[in-house]
């Protein structure tokens, strides 16, 4: 299926749509995503998104990172994590119309909360906690497998807090999203 204009996975200027992101953090997510994608592909790259609504193909454009950017994002684990936030936030925006509203600390790290555009950080009553994971490489099966693990984690960790689990496989060009009640 050829991607239409609405099937664009928009990684640019995330902070302009995701009100919880600062320009610098949104920029870091975009840069990290471009580094992760550049490891395996050239722009534009076609992604397959799978979720409750079925399968969708979309296209992501990214700038080829220069040497300075590659050096700044030399840590593979951190970069994959940051890049995954960039891609998964853009994917959740495309699939469900939800944007990053607020970051909240936890014992082991921090959670992002996503909600409909216009939601303020002071009101998380209808928001979802976003559980994100990124794979730099691996087989095609690795993405759904990681998603199952994230869903289990989301159910176990925060009981009755609604969540969305999302996994991106950078080499696989695959994104999986699932709501967890």
């Amino acid at each position: 299926m050829k991607a239409t204009k609405s099937d664009r996975l928009n990684l640019d200027k995330l902070h302009e749509r995701h009100t919880g992101l600062t320009p610098s953090l949104g920029g870091s997510y975009t840069e990290a995503a471009s580094v992760c994608l550049d490891r395996h592909h050239i722009s534009p790259v076609e992604f397959e998104i799978s979720c409750e609504n079925g399968l969708r193909t979309c296209t992501a454009e990214f700038s080829k990172p220069d040497l300075t950017t590659l050096n700044a994002y030399a840590n593979e684990l951190d970069t994959t994590e940051f890049g995954a936030y960039g891609v998964c936030l853009a994917a959740v925006e495309l699939e469900h119309g939800l944007v990053a509203v607020r970051r909240a600390e936890t014992l082991t790290g921090a959670d992002w909360y996503v909600g409909p555009s216009g939601t303020t950080a002071a009101d998380l009553e209808t928001c979802f906690r976003l559980e994100v994971s990124g794979l730099n490489s691996g087989t095609q099966d690795a993405v759904p497998s990681r998603l199952r693990s994230k869903v289990r984690q989301a159910k176990k960790g925060k009981s009755n807090l609604p969540a969305i689990a999302s996994v991106v496989g950078f080499s696989q060009r695959a994104i999986a999203i699932q709501k967890v009640a």
Binding site: A104, D123, K158
Partner: protein, 193 residues
């Protein structure tokens, strides 16, 4: 300061702290987490009481930040206050209990300083540490005094929300000061021993 300003400050400081930790700058990270925790706790007292989920998430965030700042007494105090609040939802209650467990695992034992006593401090090191602990205690007392004055002012003005916040902060700094004093006084770092 509005809720949004308090929370935004906290979020930015927490992200900076995480970045400092990644760079291995632990002291800077602790200081930033401490500032972030102050702002998040302030935001917590400003959240609309009818927004249970938002309050729960903010409560967990504030306790987690005190924990990450290694301010275990303050983290425990706030966790206890929030766990006593019947309106805190189950998911937040569970996370707060997990945090309390983590805090208890990290906190120095209050009843016995034997574990610390075993450190092979030399006499000069003990004196240095005692001086540091008393300096810290003095600073915490000064912070407590500031918050007492602010609480008194706001109670007098009828601004009970701000007064409550400052009263909590004063109490927290007293706890910190007492903790430092106990460490210095009970003998584990008594100069000359």
């Amino acid at each position: 300061m509005s809720w949004l300003e308090s929370h935004t400050n906290s979020e930015k400081l927490a992200m900076d702290a995480a970045e400092s930790l990644r760079r291995g700058e632990k002291d800077i990270a602790l200081r930033l987490y401490r500032e972030a925790a102050k702002f998040e706790e302030r935001a917590l007292y400003q959240v609309d009481a009818s927004k249970a989920r938002t309050r729960g998430i903010t409560a967990v965030s504030a306790v987690a930040l005190w924990f990450k700042a290694a301010e275990y007494a303050l983290a425990k105090r706030l966790a206890d206050i929030m766990l006593a609040d019947q309106s805190i939802p189950d998911f937040a209650r569970k996370q707060l209990k997990d945090l309390v467990q983590a805090i208890e695992a990290k906190s120095p034992a209050r009843d016995g300083y034997e574990a610390v006593e075993l450190y092979p401090f030399k006499k000069a090191d003990k004196r240095h540490l005692a001086a540091e602990l008393h300096t810290n205690a003095a600073k915490h007392h000064a912070d407590a005094a500031y918050h007492h004055k602010e609480a008194a002012k706001h109670y007098a003005d009828g601004n009970y929300e701000k007064a409550g916040y400052h009263a909590h902060m004063a109490y927290s700094y007293h706890l910190l000061a007492v903790e430092e004093m106990e460490k210095a006084a009970v003998g584990m770092v008594r100069p000359g021993r």
